[in-house]
Symmetry: C2
Subunit: 217 residues, 2 copies
DNA sequence: CACAAAATGTAATCCAGCCGACAAAATGGA
DNA sequence: TCCATTTTGTCGGCTGGATTACATTTTGTG
């Protein structure tokens, strides 16, 4: 998908400052001014909104190599529509709007790539909508675990993805719009079934082929 | 949101050919070659996928002034991931990939605007995901009717949107991931409630304020 | 090490909304 | 105008999964 080049990263490093956020820290939140974009160097970030009754609803998870906070800046919206929170210890580049827009002008191939990036994200979001309509909870959970493993893990020799995911059931529930208790029992089913492997409270292995059996279509 | 200029439309007219599709006609479908983008001059188009068991799942509805078929072309995907079908009599410009990409190079402000467009669509899709998680069926239906009215209707003197929507319950059901029968009774509730007005089988008026009462958050 | 806080497991209850089945109404061709 | 086809209305039964309510385990912290 989207891959940043050496040159671009160098440019980014010059116009940004690096910040580390500990797990649980909020990077930006709804209705703050949207004056910067962020580039994730390491760690996972969840994009979410807090509802009036206090629940959290996540619409995406972003991984190392992803930009976040892009949509508001590119759409020229003044305020953040979603919040972003570090799901573990996260290292991030902060890039000010003006610098970022200057970069877009000066590096036309980067600008071109950005169109592709937004396009990829749109397709991804549409697929999420599709999956929500098509799949019952188990399917959505399977899809989520699969994508998380693919994006955050290293593919090893056999077809089991080695990974290191420390994510609570509550967080998973927010992403697929479900209840924590339901996730609890489903995860146990997946465990028995060999679709996922735990080590303590950390997911360390994911079997794509077995997981896919839970997914509709 | 996205507004095309006189100049851009003129340019588009030169590199495109206009085609009219009668209601129900398929404009492109899944796994066809993705060699062109389309610009809707009039009419509504649904973007959907047919599942293995024959059901249709819609992920978006596009309106006059929208481009369709963009994502595959901009992402450099070879095959269509979704199908597009005329929801009524539709008039469309077909623009070949090469011509479109040439236009992007020659009109940098257009290219810039396209980034904004994709960004807008991404936000829209994320909001759809959010709504799916937050809202039960009535809420989703209300949101759908509201956006359809806002995009396809003319705002009149009072705060009722005058519109002319000929859409079957089946189609509505596909968009919000529900069953036709459920839509049937909900529409009747909305009718009684004064949220929407029918004339025969056509929705001709929508009351945004009343509709919003059905929406969570 | 002890204790509070966070995360998980489990089970009973309940209900929104899907599904099947059918009747009625509207629409559009011939 | 008539008949086939499409679209809509309605109703009961069934079920996935939310909700409530605890018990148990794990984790971090003074």
């Amino acid at each position: 998908m989207f891959q940043i080049t050496e040159g671009e990263l160098k440019y980014l490093n010059e116009i940004s400052s690096e910040i580390k956020y500990p797990k649980g820290q909020i990077i930006f939140s709804t209705s703050q001014k949207a004056n910067e974009v962020y580039y994730i160097k390491s760690g996972l970030v969840k994009i979410y909104r807090t509802t009036s009754d206090g629940r959290q609803v996540s619409v995406a998870i972003r991984y190392p190599g992803d930009f976040i906070g892009l949509a508001e800046v590119l759409s020229n919206i003044n305020e953040r529509e979603y919040s972003a929170e570090a799901m573990d210890n996260v290292s991030i580049l902060i890039i000010w709007k003006d610098g970022f827009k200057k970069m877009l002008c000066e590096m036309p191939e980067f600008s071109e790539k950005l169109i592709r990036l937004m396009s990829d994200r749109l397709r991804e979001a549409q697929n999420t909508i599709y999956d929500f309509i098509m799949n019952p909870i188990q399917g959505r959970l399977a899809i989520l675990l699969l994508t998380m493993a693919e994006r955050a893990g290293d593919k090893s020799e056999d077809d089991i993805i080695r990974v290191r995911l420390r994510v609570t059931q509550e967080e998973l529930a927010c992403v697929i719009g479900s209840a924590r208790q339901t996730i609890s029992s489903l995860l146990n089913l997946l465990k028995e079934d060999g679709s996922i492997q735990y080590e303590g409270r950390e997911i360390v292995g994911v079997n794509p082929n077995k997981l896919k059996l839970w997914i509709q279509e």
